[in-house]
């Protein structure tokens, strides 16, 4: 992975010093809170009801064991023993003291990490494909470009006070695993017919209140131009993006208002001045970056390990895990392992300091000391020898990170919701638990097959509910009940689509029942087991689902939520903030 040189380290150290002084000035009231706010946000620090949340950047989700141990250390020393992985491949800590945050950043700087631009109206952490470098369908490894973009966007002087936050995602495989169409800029690094590397560029995608799928602005941008082209997009947005209304300030609104043709014209007019200028990437720089992302020292192994077959036959749990949490690797004899941070009953994405330390040890032992954080809030060991899979599975099972549910119904993406987030209409995590418990039966989950379920506590969509096959959104609190809207038909990936709302909203207790009804329609209508949920929705439309969900009343016991499931008053809410907002 990328390794800081003296320049990177110097800038990061200077950032810590700058921030330390800003905190000092804030504490002595030389800075007002209004003035301090964007400064701390650009260092990932949010203030909540009772304390501070720090979001640490994990550039494109890639992290070393040494860095993971630092997270464990931070969780123990400054927090309450755990951290939360987000849908933007970052990690958040929720219980920090402002006075201690400069020390935390200094600790992070000692392992080449930071919290720069993880929040605020600036270019955020670049996200990417969790299987880069090892996936079968990769065309170009996006990591060198992700790191080049990270450096370019870090402390960019012109784009630190944009109308609103700005997210860039990059992917280099045939299948888009980085949801690039749901980003302000989505980059697909690819090759043209001549084998030259370039980018397909999308702009103006995003979820939130106004979900929009990104539009193509450039079909093939040769690689040397990626920085200058992105610069022009940002310059046009910085000047013309709306600043009068926070909810209309994202670039997607500007692109929509101008139309993609006009927006493109403005960008290319600006770009004409930059094209082939000094901001153009050089071969040397790309080669240098690529040198950090070469293959680890893979052993030469004979194809697939046959002893696994025997063990699978004897061990059902292992065999499930192999089927759902283990992916083929492009190198013979290796495998990709997804660690499930979705054990039913636990909050999606939460990891304790013990788990972090243990995972770091396992990465050292089995996966060249590296791991990835996925946008589905799971972890990945990218380079596992197949002969190590059984041993690894035993270890992960002990750590409760081996639930064989990746890509299944209980691999739920959930935002923190009302217990934690002040903007919420309703709780998310308890609902995800209720759903996970109801459908915990693995045979049922496997029968349903591939499906995504996303929960957001409000329309800000931190749980990315628009692109869930089933999406759930908290819409209001009324009469001591929380109300949720259910949508179906959303999807990420190459055939990205936005879900459509099914019908009137439902209360907390009714949601699992409604999901059950939706799934019944799926089971009834599917042509065969190979036809996925999303395929059926696309084929038959919403109506049969809607009809079945609302045809019969919900059972009496679900007409009102019981005490256990009533809303926690906001004043008892835990200070927290959303992973994406």
């Amino acid at each position: 992975m990328y390794c800081y040189d003296e320049y990177d380290q110097r800038m990061i150290d200077e950032r810590v010093a700058q921030y330390r002084d800003q905190v000092r000035r804030r504490l002595s009231n030389e800075l007002t809170e209004t003035e301090f706010l964007p400064l701390r946000l650009q260092n990932g620090l949010y203030m909540q009801i009772h304390g501070y949340m720090l979001r640490i950047a994990v550039p494109y989700g890639l992290i070393s064991s040494r860095q993971m141990r630092m997270f464990a250390h931070i969780a123990r020393k400054y927090d309450r023993g755990y951290g939360h992985f987000t849908t933007r491949q970052n990690i958040q800590f929720n219980w920090l003291k402002l006075e201690e945050t400069p020390d935390i950043l200094a600790d992070l700087a000692s392992v080449q990490m930071h919290a720069i631009q993880t929040s605020g109206n600036c270019v955020r952490n670049i996200t990417s494909d969790e299987f880069f470098g090892v996936a079968h369908d990769e065309i170009v490894d996006p990591r060198p470009y992700a790191e080049i973009l990270r450096q370019w966007s870090t402390f960019h002087p012109e784009f630190a006070y944009l109308p609103r936050k700005f997210k860039i995602a990059i992917s280099g495989a045939k299948e888009d695993r980085a949801a690039i169409l749901a980003h302000d800029i989505g980059l697909s690094v690819t090759k043209n017919a001549q084998g030259e590397v370039g980018f397909r560029v999308f702009v103006g995608g995003g979820l939130g209140r106004t979900p929009i799928i990104g539009s193509e602005i450039c079909e093939f941008l040769p690689w040397p131009h990626v920085l200058t082209y992105v610069e022009s997009i940002l310059r046009i947005y910085n000047q013309l993006g709306r600043r009068d209304n926070k909810h209309k300030a994202r670039i997607k609104i500007l692109v929509k208002a101008l139309g993609i043709e006009e927006f493109k014209r403005l960008v290319e007019e600006d770009w004409a001045d930059l094209k082939n200028g000094p901001g153009t990437l050089t071969r040397e720089e790309v080669d240098r970056m690529s040198s950090f992302f070469t293959d680890p020292e893979y052993e030469v192994l004979a194809g697939n390990d046959s002893s696994l077959k025997a063990f699978m036959a004897d061990n059902r749990n292992f065999s499930h895990w192999m089927k759902h949490n283990v992916r083929p690797h492009r190198v013979p004899g290796y495998a990709i392992v997804v660690l499930s941070v979705k054990k039913p009953g636990n909050a999606p994405g939460d990891v304790t300091h013990e788990q972090m330390d243990a995972v770091a040890d396992l990465a050292d032992r089995y996966s060249f000391g590296e791991m990835r954080i996925t946008h589905k809030q799971n972890l990945v060991f990218a380079d596992i020898k197949q002969t190590d899979l059984i041993a690894l599975w035993h270890e992960l099972t002990k750590l409760e990170l081996a639930s064989p549910n990746i890509g299944m119904l209980t691999d739920i993406i959930s935002c923190p919701g009302a217990e934690f987030c002040t903007l919420a209409n309703a709780r998310s995590i308890p609902l995800s638990k209720l759903i996970a418990e109801r459908f915990e039966n693995l045979d049922f989950q496997y029968d349903i097959g591939e499906i995504t379920l996303n929960i957001s506590g409000c329309m800000n969509a931190c749980g990315q509910h628009h692109i869930g096959n089933i999406g759930i959104t908290g819409v209001e609190k009324k009469n001591h009940e929380e109300w949720y809207q259910i949508s179906i038909g959303g999807a990420e990936g190459n055939d990205c689509s936005l879900g459509k709302i099914l019908g009137p909203s439902l209360i907390f207790n009714q949601v699992p029942e409604a999901i059950d009804r939706i799934l019944q329609v799926y089971l009834r209508e599917r042509a065969d087991e190979g036809e996925r949920f999303i395929d059926v929705v696309r084929r038959i439309g919403h109506v049969p689902f809607k009809d079945h969900v609302y045809a019969t009343d919900f059972p009496d016991e679900l007409v009102k939520s019981d005490d256990k499931n009533t809303l926690i008053p906001a004043q008892h809410a835990v200070p927290f903030y959303s992973p994406r907002f």
């Binding site: 960019h156 012109e158 240098r288």
Partner: protein, 178 residues
């Protein structure tokens, strides 16, 4: 009043003219002396103001310097107003003035100008700063030196770091790790 010019705190006798309520660009009286007028006033009273050589112009954050066209080279002082420090349009205005319109005179940041933005402001082409009067100007001066190195090009730095220095690839950098 005191301003920062070339990293030094110096006295300054330019006045910034701001329209009061009721005043329009056409009717406002531009007083004698060195005056930085709103861009709208420049447009409205251009014929008269062209006679003077002690006039500067300032842009509001929603104005485009491209609209100044050839006039840009008449000025020795142009300012950009920051109504709120968090309104980042002024950065692109400055960049465009410098890089696209090739304005080479003095470029001032006025309005809500604070220490913690000075480093970025300098990078995009501002060379004179009028920090908000309720703040200590010598404190603001420190903001110019928050960082000693930068990655990307802007007005101040025409070459990105990767073209300016030899940066090590993995084998060499790896030695520094751990």
């Amino acid at each position: 009043m005191m301003i920062i010019r070339d990293r030094t705190i110096v006295g300054d006798d330019w006045q910034v003219l701001r329209l009061r309520d009721q005043e329009t660009p056409e009717t406002t009286m531009v007083p004698d002396g060195k005056i930085i007028v709103p861009f709208k006033v420049w447009l409205a009273q251009r014929a008269t103001l062209l006679q003077r050589n002690d006039i500067g112009v300032w842009f509001a954050s929603d104005e485009r310097p491209e609209d100044l066209a050839e006039d840009v080279h008449r000025f020795t002082v142009i300012a950009v107003d920051f109504p709120k420090f968090s309104d980042g349009r002024g950065y692109s205005i400055a960049y465009n003035l410098r890089a696209r319109l090739e304005y080479s005179g003095e470029l001032r940041a006025i309005g809500d100008v604070l220490r913690d933005q000075l480093f970025y402001l300098r990078r995009v082409g501002f060379d004179v700063f009028e920090p908000r009067p309720d703040r200590k100007i010598d404190d603001a001066l420190k903001g110019l030196d928050d960082f000693s190195e930068v990655y990307q090009i802007s007005f101040d730095q025409k070459q990105p770091l990767f073209r300016r220095v030899v940066r090590q690839g993995k084998s060499a950098a790896g030695l520094q790790d751990d």
